[in-house]
């Protein structure tokens, strides 16, 4: 996949700011998209018109287990999140529900990528190419089962 970056240079972005509590009663994906990142970034919707990758720090998606969070991001157009680390339920939800790719990167890669950079991500070779800066980085490969679930298109399509 290929696309441009929205960068949030902070750790511990929680699911309450990704999709605030009052909208937990909503379940239509398009409706949830309207409220994505409402708790922290009022400009998200204009940014996501030109970007489909989020780059961020540690423990992304911590807090509530609400699957609404990856759904809202995915339905807004986000296809991959590159983070120093992920909170476990957000990671599981992203993979098992096949909403977006949660990709772990190292500190060096995190520092190298800037807002609006254009990236090309190859999950077969685990290489991230920064087209804007003409750099390449490596991503942490998906663990065996995670890779298989992603390839199948989500947990329900995966046959153990």
């Amino acid at each position: 996949m290929k696309g441009k970056v929205i960068k949030y240079e902070q750790d511990n972005i929680d699911t309450d700011v990704i999709l605030p509590g009052p909208y937990l009663k909503l379940h239509e994906h398009a409706e949830l998209a309207e409220h994505a990142m409402e708790g922290m970034d009022p400009d998200f919707h204009s940014k996501v018109k030109e970007a489909n990758i989020i780059v961020t720090g540690k423990n992304f998606g911590c807090g509530s287990s609400r699957e609404h969070a990856p759904i809202a991001l995915s339905a807004s157009g986000i296809e991959a999140i590159l983070a120093l680390s992920f909170a476990r339920i957000f990671y599981r939800n992203s993979v098992d529900g096949a909403y977006l790719l949660p990709i772990e990167i190292d500190e060096k890669t995190y520092s190298a990528i800037s807002e609006k950079d254009e990236l090309e991500i190859d999950t077969n070779t685990n290489v991230i190419k920064n087209i804007t800066k003409n750099q390449t980085y490596s991503m942490k490969p998906f663990p065996d089962l995670i890779g298989k679930i992603i390839e199948a298109g989500g947990l329900f399509k995966y046959k153990p």
Binding site: D16, G21, L24, C62, G63, E67, A87, L145, F156
Partner: protein, 423 residues
């Protein structure tokens, strides 16, 4: 193996497991509520429409129980419709354990799990809510998940798990008067941070735990979620067995650490000198002693949630509020009808109302910013709940200070953040 590894080994039919192993394990109990439930319904609809699965029956409806807690009483037409859909779902699939708002016992899902004895020692329990970790205090592997995973378990009875490494918290000594389990878990989160337990099992033991009531232990495991843990767990003892026996549950296969159980790391806490603590905005790891933050002006005291509205929490609040008046808006929401009933029978409700507080129905309510007392811009709240992220309880520019029920009650009386020892 330790207790977490042994439960997962038994559930996956293995003799031996190590941290990092990825397994498919059989699940014993499943919980969903009025947020994850409609999520499951939506997931099933989509999977059927796409021809991925046919959902004509569940793996075993008797494993499943359903709570109505986040948006009850119904907030608006959408949340009312969610409750209707949930009722149709449980009826269609023969789920009989559906705790309905306004129809006998109901309450916050994690509170019902222990109040009703729905989960037993040694079981593998999953729920569509992050604070499912709570029930690990009964000696179960209890873990929160999103609704796709819950839907998968509903259909297949099993799920993949990565065996976690275990952080062991050895608690020594007796908590001083005016200090509660909430203070201890805030202390731990302040020390290890909100990612310090990420993906790990957090196990508690030691004479400090033996000394604690089951309800206090539940406060500890509840907030392992805030440290990022996969599960919080405590080896069961006679107190747990008695607690369950009072709820008619006497048959189970309790699991304990082997003598050579391994932990990734052991932390030791002597709690005899622990002081009342507070997690300041905007993170549960932003912890300091109340003494250093006294005097912060408050608009509201919120005593509710799966963390801070169990019976003993209400008892602690009543001890402070008895014969006093609150100076700020004070909302007390018992976490289940059974707790509300006991509080009323024992005169606690009267104490609260006499003090000027409002006593409301069990609900997750404002803890998750849903309704029933959400905060306005710039409003400052002391709360017995578990999270204080921006906007968690209302406006993104409101502020929540997380404390024990004793501190929340003492602060209600003075209108400022207050150490109960100073009252």
């Amino acid at each position: 193996m330790n207790i977490t590894e042994k439960i997962l080994a038994r559930a996956s039919g293995k003799d031996m497991l190590e941290p990092g192993d990825v397994i498919f394990a059989n699940v014993d109990k499943i919980m969903l509520h009025d947020v994850s439930g409609p999520g499951v319904i939506k997931t099933f609809e989509k999977l059927e429409k796409d021809g991925v699965v046919k959902v004509d029956k569940l793996f075993d409806p008797s494993m499943v129980w359903v709570a109505e807690d986040h948006f009850v009483p119904s907030v608006d037409k959408i949340s009312a419709e969610n409750i209707v859909q949930l009722s149709k779902f449980t009826k269609k699939f023969g789920i009989t354990k559906h705790f309905k708002y306004g129809l006998g016992q109901y309450g916050i899902c994690h509170t019902l799990s222990h109040e009703e004895g729905l989960v037993s020692p040694g079981e593998l329990y999953i729920g569509g809510d992050s604070h499912t970790n709570t029930t690990g205090a009964l000696g179960a592997f209890a873990c929160g998940l999103g609704h796709t995973d819950v839907a998968y378990v509903l259909l297949n009875g099993n799920l993949w798990f990565k065996v976690p490494e275990t952080l062991y918290f050895k608690i020594n000594g007796k908590l001083p008067e005016h200090v509660m389990a909430k203070d201890l878990i805030l202390k731990i989160i302040g020390d290890i941070t909100t990612e310090g337990g990420a993906g790990h099992a957090m196990q508690f033991g030691g004479n400090g735990i033996s000394d604690m009531s089951v309800e206090s232990r539940l406060t500890l495991t509840n907030m392992t979620t805030e440290a990022g843990a996969k599960n919080g767990i405590i080896e069961p003892d006679q107190k747990v067995f008695d607690y369950l026996s009072e709820r008619g549950v006497t048959e189970y296969d309790a699991v304990y650490d082997d003598d050579d159980a391994q932990y990734k790391k052991t932390y030791e806490y002597d709690v005899t000198e622990l002081e009342p603590l507070v997690a300041k905005p905007f993170s549960p790891q932003n912890v300091s002693v109340v003494q250093e933050t006294t005097g912060i002006e408050l608009d509201k005291s919120y005593i509710g949630s799966c963390t801070g509205a169990k019976y003993e929490d209400l008892e602690a609040v009543a001890k402070i509020l008895k014969g006093k008046k609150v100076k700020i808006r004070t909302e007390i929401l018992p976490a289940a009808i059974s707790i509300y009933k006991k509080a009323t029978e024992n005169g606690l409700t009267q104490i609260f109302i006499d003090a000027g507080a409002v006593v409301g129905p069990p609900t997750c309510g404002a803890c998750c910013g849903a309704h029933m007392g959400v905060l306005a811009k710039d409003e400052v709240c002391v709360s017995t709940t578990n999270r204080n992220f921006p906007g968690r309880m209302g406006h993104v520019e409101s502020k929540t200070y997380l404390t024990s029920p004793l501190v929340a009650a003492a602060s209600a009386v003075t209108g400022k953040l207050t150490d109960p020892r100073d009252l």
